[in-house]
Symmetry: C2
């Protein structure tokens, strides 16, 4: 067992999280949340998505969000970019890092972004090229790595193939998403091992959902392989569009609690993080959706 | 990593769970729950506690519960016994297995059962002796193994010492409880490793709480040591008396989901288990408190 001594947390609540909440929040609330998350010591705070507000009303005002946040020098604030038009908005906002979103499942890609995996990669080729020309860093998401809501099991080889293509296009990090949370520890390990045959481990991130309660166990499993980047969402923001009563993204608070308990450094102040989680939960009119938040406050 | 190929689940919802629910349920409902759990394939279904109903009104009617359940030949139905009077009720009920309850924390023992650890062991000496004379099996609980609500950290050596004493008195299995759910994977491993220096691994059970969301990660950690008995509570029955908004016992559904995903045999039918969880949650007028139950039903 070789656990990393440090883990980089990529906080996705303000984008991936809020994007999937039914209650839209104002630009000001988003800015406050992002600043609180950065103040809590999170090194990467995904801040917005440059998609059409026609499709994702929750992400309206992304340019204003970026212009509004007081950026800290040592924090990255990536923005999701679906296409060239999104990249243009991102560049206009002064974004320094973007993320693109692919999937290891054909059916999911069709239903989610209305094209084949091949077409999505082709579309991103131009986006990534232009982003790199503009000195942006590019992160690649691959979803459905441990199961697909339409196809069920997904071959790890397919995950590796899509990941490698994004990596070859210039993504500096590949975030491997268990989009429906059906993964369990051994499968999570096997998937990461397969991808790591093609992409160095330090370039991989685990983006696990807690829908079936498995996320921390899966994270502990892949930490043992040396994975040292974890995506998570403050207060479990986001829920799960495929199981209405259930949790989606693993809560950052629970991840930090586990890492703290194992002496793994993250630089995150759990109390400040809990406050940020409480702030946004209050704004959404619901209880915190992290176990640590519930244990501490409710 | 040497995961066991089979795991024995000790279902504690009908006792440890219901005992900590604020809504008492009738003897008939308890009987139905116990029978549903046994029908789901659980090999051990803790059925009642022979404590005074003056102290624990939720456990009133334990003798009637035992007389009412149609026992399956291949299922154990242990009953908790706090003292000689409890043992007499247990014997009157025809119980074949009892459990006694100690703790690795002095303060917790004082507050919980109003005596020192030493006094509790002395009290159990007579109970266990008499139980063994009557051909009952005896299981020993040790609580606060990964933290105490009053003392904080608990030395694993203390856990090992209390466990060894119960084992020496004749307990065939020692259930190691993370009573407040503050354990994390490495600490859970270290605690089990320490106890396993004194008691063979097949005689140890992990009884972990999910208060901070850590239970499955902790279970995955100790499964890797070869732990092959897990205590859990259908639909997360029980809550946590030390953190009102939080979860207590890890939900059996979530444990089974993880073990199924890893190909570890339990003999439990997840669908029937989910039905049992739904039944008792409906009786208590609340949503299921397992992630799998929420993902499937709500």
């Amino acid at each position: 067992m070789s656990l990393p001594s440090k883990v980089k947390i990529v906080e996705v609540g303000a984008r991936d999280g809020l994007q999937n909440e039914s209650t839209p929040v104002s630009v000001d609330v988003k800015i406050s949340l992002i600043e609180k998350l950065a103040d809590a010591g999170l090194p990467v705070v995904e801040a917005a998505s440059f998609v059409s507000p026609k499709w994702v009303p929750q992400m309206a005002g992304s340019v204003d969000v970026f212009k509004g946040i007081k950026q800290k020098a040592n924090v990255n604030y990536p923005g999701l970019v679906p296409n060239i038009r999104g990249l243009e908005s991102a560049l206009e906002s002064g974004v320094k890092e973007i993320a693109v979103f692919a999937a290891a499942s054909e059916s999911f890609t069709q239903k989610n972004i209305n094209c084949s995996i091949e077409e999505s990669i082709n579309r991103y080729t131009e986006v990534i090229e232009k982003a790199l020309e503009n000195d942006l860093k590019v992160r690649g998401y691959v979803s459905c790595t441990l199961g697909c809501p339409y196809e069920g099991e997904i071959a790890s080889e397919k995950v590796a193939e899509v990941s490698k293509r994004l990596s070859d296009l210039g993504c500096y990090e590949i975030s491997l998403g268990d989009t429906i949370g059906t993964g369990t520890p051994i499968k999570a390990k096997q998937m990461i091992e397969t991808v790591a045959k093609h992409i160095p481990m330090p370039q991989l991130a685990a983006h696990f959902h807690d829908t079936y309660g498995q996320a921390l166990a899966n994270l502990f499993a892949v930490l043992q392989l040396g994975v040292s980047t974890i995506d998570s969402s403050v207060s479990g923001l986001g829920g799960c569009p495929y199981a209405k009563g259930a949790t989606g993204n693993v809560a950052t608070e629970d991840v930090i609690y586990m890492l703290n308990g194992m002496g793994i450094e993250t630089g995150v102040d759990l109390d400040k993080l809990l406050e940020a989680g409480r702030f946004i939960s209050d704004q959404l009119g619901r209880k915190p959706n992290s176990n640590v938040g519930l244990a501490r406050y409710v």
